[in-house]
Amino acid sequence: MRASRYAAVTLALIALPAATSRRAEAQGARPADLDSATAAAIAPIVQQARSASLPVELLYAKAREGEVQRAPVARIEAAVRALAARMQTASEALAPNPTVQELAAAADALKVGVPRETLREMRRRGRDGSLAVPIGVLTQLVVRGVPVEKASVQVVDLLQRGAVPKHFIALDERVREDVLAGKRPDESLDLRLKGIIPNLPQQATAEALSATPGNKRPR
């Protein structure tokens, strides 16, 4: 009897730290390897983000990124504060229930100048699909030099036509190859869209309907 009690207590002691650690991780607890000065500097920002139901692990990651690059605490604090503000904007634009990946992608997009209206439109046109890849490709197109207005319109149009992540990834790879070969980014985008749009679900549907007897387009 006594032995079984000891065994139960021992098992509980073994399981408790693991359970506590997992719970802290889920709640976005401060990483153990974050410098104490950095942690203290960003604590109010983290607290505010947590009360706004934003994923604070992204803020800790931004702080850790600064530490790895040996940035001063003040700069880390400014970067974390700016990220929290972008996440708040992104959360509103991608409402009602953006995922952590979507928020991270949208915060990066806002950073390179993508307007929040574009994000809102992407959520509307993208239905229930994840926007992590489309937003990421939009960000990369802008970083490559495609004007943000043009890139925004084209990415929203692709979502409207039913494009899925593999289409966006293919577009990004082809534009990248063209830019490496010396082509202008915006011209490459126009060209490569012509190769992707015919393979999109809604485009295929429209073509199938137009090819059906009795559904011929008026000339």
Binding site: D108, R127, G129, A132, V133, G136, Q140, T205
Partner: protein
Amino acid sequence: VREEHDELIGRIVDELRVLPAVPADATARVLARVDAARRGGTPSASVSDDDDVIFFPAVTDEMATPGPLAHSAPGAANGGGPARGGLRRRFMVSLPAAIGYALAATLAGFLIRGALPRKADPITAAREARRDDTSASAGVAVRPVAAVVSREAQEAPVATQFVLDASRAKSVSLVGDFNAWDGAKTPLVRDSASGMWSAVVPVTPGRHVYAFLVDGKTWTLDPQAPKTKDSDYGTEQSVIIVGLR
């Protein structure tokens, strides 16, 4: 003739009393037949008269304690015939058994029609969605994948390989936004044949920035990947867009 504690005979008598158009002596004849059968020591399997007015099915233990569904039909006493009575007796079942049969039949119907909802795991759902998407490329009208697969399933991590050619390095680790910039989480392993360092890391779909830390301190970009300048800290980073192709 009627015995005080014979429940079965009591039930028969009660039934015959309420039935219309039964000859006046029917009750007496039934009771006489039953009594004769019992006195002979063998229950009558099927006692019927030539005039076909009275039919009494076999007296068995099952009938002695009938279930809720084992009620008598009017036709049994006023011209139903032996076959009809026998048929009724064979189909007597208890209520729990009847409910069980009904449930089993319903379940079988659902299974045959494939109408039961099947809970698919995210990987299976993603595979099926990809199959749908492939057929979409071939010109078949289907709904876009976004409407089929949940957002969480689309964001399932993808195994991604990172490679760096650094033959003189003593250690290489990977830091990026997918591992919270923690180099200890993702050390690269040196391939003895090629001398190259590599690691396969589960990364969620989307655009990610990263770099290699050589010998624990030297910030090194991936020569195979596009690069971008981070405005927060002013350093250059490699870029990768992860997703199923």
